[in-house]
């Protein structure tokens, strides 16, 4: 955070009666501006987090709500064993976690492989073409995410558009089973999160100085090699940002595996849903949520650290 220490502008003198009042109270305009998002996050993120944390440490009971903070003897106890104990002892949860991380990781790599050429193409196209292409990337956001995932069912199912077309052309005799497979889950995740990969990559590649590539070829480097020696290393910040934006939500993804995946597509989001709505085991569901959060906070923190380092470099 050294970057913020360098260029901190001096505080402006207070003016007007509100300003004078705030000044008397020792509140600067800067902290007032920061206070709004701060309060928002406190109220709608941190407080619910504390509630979930507390629920995860409660006892399951048949009541409304289905948990209690008191043990059978009526004492107030933090119950770690029941919920968190189950997470480590039951192989189902560990398998679901690992599967989620793997699906998210593979989807991120696929998004990167598809998104990079896409972003590169947009960044190197002419100004008018560039706007059209960017518009096309953003266009799917105008339709609800849920509806777009449902639309894939219509495409993938046995009597869906793709199978119908292939049957009609005679390429296949019987429909290919694409629905409720891992393939469908990857397809859904890559499709849904691709724009989150393309946009930060585009932003990075677009500002890259083309004369660097000219300099590389001038020094005897062939264009393809120059791409790997110059373009790729310089786009690492974009790759990291895009990968985080895909990986983090993909880990906790519920809708796509639920709608497109089969019984084998065991992901932590589905497990959480099952605990909460089917088993009505709120403490375990909360514990699963807390564990997912912890698993994601680590890469987030790494990302934050990386960004700080980048900022320092620029300053």
């Amino acid at each position: 955070m050294a970057a913020t220490d360098i260029a901190r502008p001096s505080r402006l003198p207070a003016s007007g009666w509100i300003g004078i009042l705030l000044h008397r109270l020792g509140i600067s305009g800067r902290s007032l501006v920061i206070a709004i998002p701060f309060l928002w996050l406190l109220l709608y993120f941190f407080l619910p987090f504390l509630i979930v944390l507390k629920v995860s440490l409660a006892f399951i009971t048949i009541a409304q709500p289905p948990y209690t903070h008191f043990d059978s003897a009526g004492n107030f106890v933090l119950n770690i064993g029941d919920s968190y104990g189950r997470l480590v002892s039951d192989a189902l949860y560990i398998k679901a976690y690992l599967n989620s991380l793997m699906v998210a990781a593979i989807s991120t790599v696929l998004c990167l492989l598809i998104g990079y050429p896409f972003a590169y193409g947009i960044a190197r196209s002419g100004p008018s073409m560039r706007n059209i292409l960017l518009m096309l990337v953003i266009l799917p956001f105008w339709t609800s995410f849920l509806i777009r995932v449902y639309a894939w069912i219509g495409l993938l199912k046995n009597n869906g558009l793709i199978n119908d077309f292939l049957l009609w052309t005679g390429i296949i005799d019987s429909p290919i089973g694409m629905m409720n497979t891992n393939f469908a889950v990857y397809l859904g995740i890559v499709y849904s999160y691709l724009p989150f990969m393309i946009l930060p990559l585009y932003a990075n590649l677009e500002k890259m100085d083309v004369s660097l590539l000219e300099a590389a070829t001038d020094l005897g480097c062939k264009p393809l090699k120059a791409f790997f020696l110059i373009t790729v290393p310089l786009s690492v910040p974009g790759i990291v940002a895009g990968s985080m934006l895909v990986f983090i939500p993909a880990v906790g993804e519920y809708v796509i595996p639920e709608l497109l995946g089969g019984p084998s597509s065991l992901m932590i989001g589905r497990v959480l849903w099952g605990e909460f709505f089917s088993n009505r085991d709120w403490p375990t569901a909360s514990a699963v949520a807390i564990a997912v959060l912890l698993a994601l906070v680590v890469p987030l923190m790494l990302y934050q650290k990386y960004q700080d380092k980048e900022l320092e470099k620029e300053a």
Partner: protein, 386 residues
């Protein structure tokens, strides 16, 4: 320029033997009728140019005159719409930048931001797969030459502008190209660093014998650096010559006006002989006598260019038939070593005169609103036909 067949009356500098005065000399870089169009826009218009081995040739012109496009065609980043480019006798058509015997120093330096100074300089050698010890030795030698050895492990963003510029220079020199192309090499430097680097460049060029082509918009830079200058305007080379030729004998109004400052008088020819020409100019309000001929029909419209430092002012009346005008001093800019006088001639035309301040302020000093006589020597003006 000596190779013109008909006896010329054009003025010429006597010069010592140089490749461009020797008709038998083989040019190292041959640009033949090269044209480059971007859509409808003609950036370079039918340019032909010969540059000889070991020269430091400057392409000088304002922005948008096509000088950078010409340089980029030599480097291979653009291909000519028409015409041919030869380097050391080899036709460069279809040869990509990475196979050309040229290296370029970019205006923005284009240093690789993720590599250290050392890695930047060694990049070109690594592409050619030189053995590791040789690369290390050549890079070390190069860094020593540009005095950057202590900075070899730094990244470009940790360097000052002058240091970056030297890294760029080292990177483009380390492969010892046949031809080094420099795009505004000193553009981003402050005046002192500029002067130091100018001499450093000339020094390097002397030592390594590499042929340089420099693109610049700065006439002072072109004057001090170059063996020859090509002045460009609107995609064409309007004059090629040594710095002296360009300054003393501009061939047209554009060059006269672009290089240094000049007073131009429009007039028509009254006499045109082998040894002199007499021009009557209403704009100047008198006759101008020049001691060389210009090969033109009597009565033709011409322009006379006289440099401000080649004009004398005096408060005494002078009685001469020509090269003698009178006027009133309308402004003086005192520069210390010299002063610039703005003189309004009786014809109404304002001219600029610079004179050395040889003596301290005295009663002979010319002051505002003084009536003065303006004179010059018969070999000072140049008559221009276009």
């Amino acid at each position: 320029m000596v190779a013109v067949e008909k006896p010329t009356k054009q003025p010429q500098n006597k010069h010592i033997s140089a490749p461009w005065t020797d008709p038998k000399a083989e040019p190292y870089i041959r640009i033949e009728n090269v044209t480059k169009k971007f859509g409808e826009f003609v950036a370079v218009n039918n340019v032909s140019l010969n540059v000889y081995r070991g020269e430091l040739f400057s392409l000088l012109g304002g922005s948008g005159c096509g000088k950078t496009t010409l340089l980029r065609m030599l480097a291979g980043f653009e291909s000519p719409t028409a015409g041919k480019i030869f380097i050391d006798g080899v036709d460069m058509a279809g040869i990509p930048p990475y196979d050309r015997p040229t290296n370029m120093m970019f205006q923005s330096y284009a240093l690789f931001p993720h590599m250290t100074v050392e890695q930047n300089v060694s990049f070109g050698l690594k592409q050619d797969k030189y053995p590791e010890p040789e690369i290390r030795q050549r890079v070390a030698h190069m860094l020593e030459m540009v005095q950057l050895t202590p900075f070899s492990k730094r990244k470009p963003h940790q360097l000052s502008g002058g240091q970056r510029q030297r890294v760029a220079l080292a990177r483009s020199l380390v492969k010892q190209p046949k031809l080094l192309l420099l795009d505004e090499p000193l553009g981003a430097l402050d005046k002192k660093l500029r002067e130091a680097t100018q001499f450093e460049l000339m020094n390097i060029q002397d030592r390594l014998g590499i042929t340089f082509i420099v693109v610049t918009h700065d006439q002072e830079e072109a004057m001090t650096l170059s063996t020859r200058i090509g002045v460009m305007n609107a995609g064409q080379i309007v004059q090629t010559g040594t710095p002296q030729e360009i300054y003393e004998y501009p061939q047209n109004k554009f060059v006269a006006d672009f290089i240094g400052s000049v007073n131009l008088f429009e007039g028509h020819i009254v006499e045109d002989e082998q040894d002199h020409v007499l021009i009557r100019s209403d704009e100047a309000g008198g006759d101008i006598y020049i001691d060389h001929g210009i090969s033109s029909a009597p009565g033709a419209r011409v322009w006379v260019a006289i440099r401000p430092e080649k004009i004398q002012l005096t408060k005494q009346a002078v009685n001469e038939r020509h090269n003698c005008l009178s006027g009133i001093v309308k402004g003086i800019a005192y520069m210390g070593n010299l002063s610039i006088y703005l003189v309004q001639l009786d014809s109404g035309k304002q001219i600029k005169v610079t004179m050395q301040n040889q003596v301290r302020a005295s009663e002979f000093m010319i002051d505002w609103d003084d009536r003065v006589t303006v004179t010059w020597h018969a070999n000072s003006p140049v008559a221009l036909l276009s």
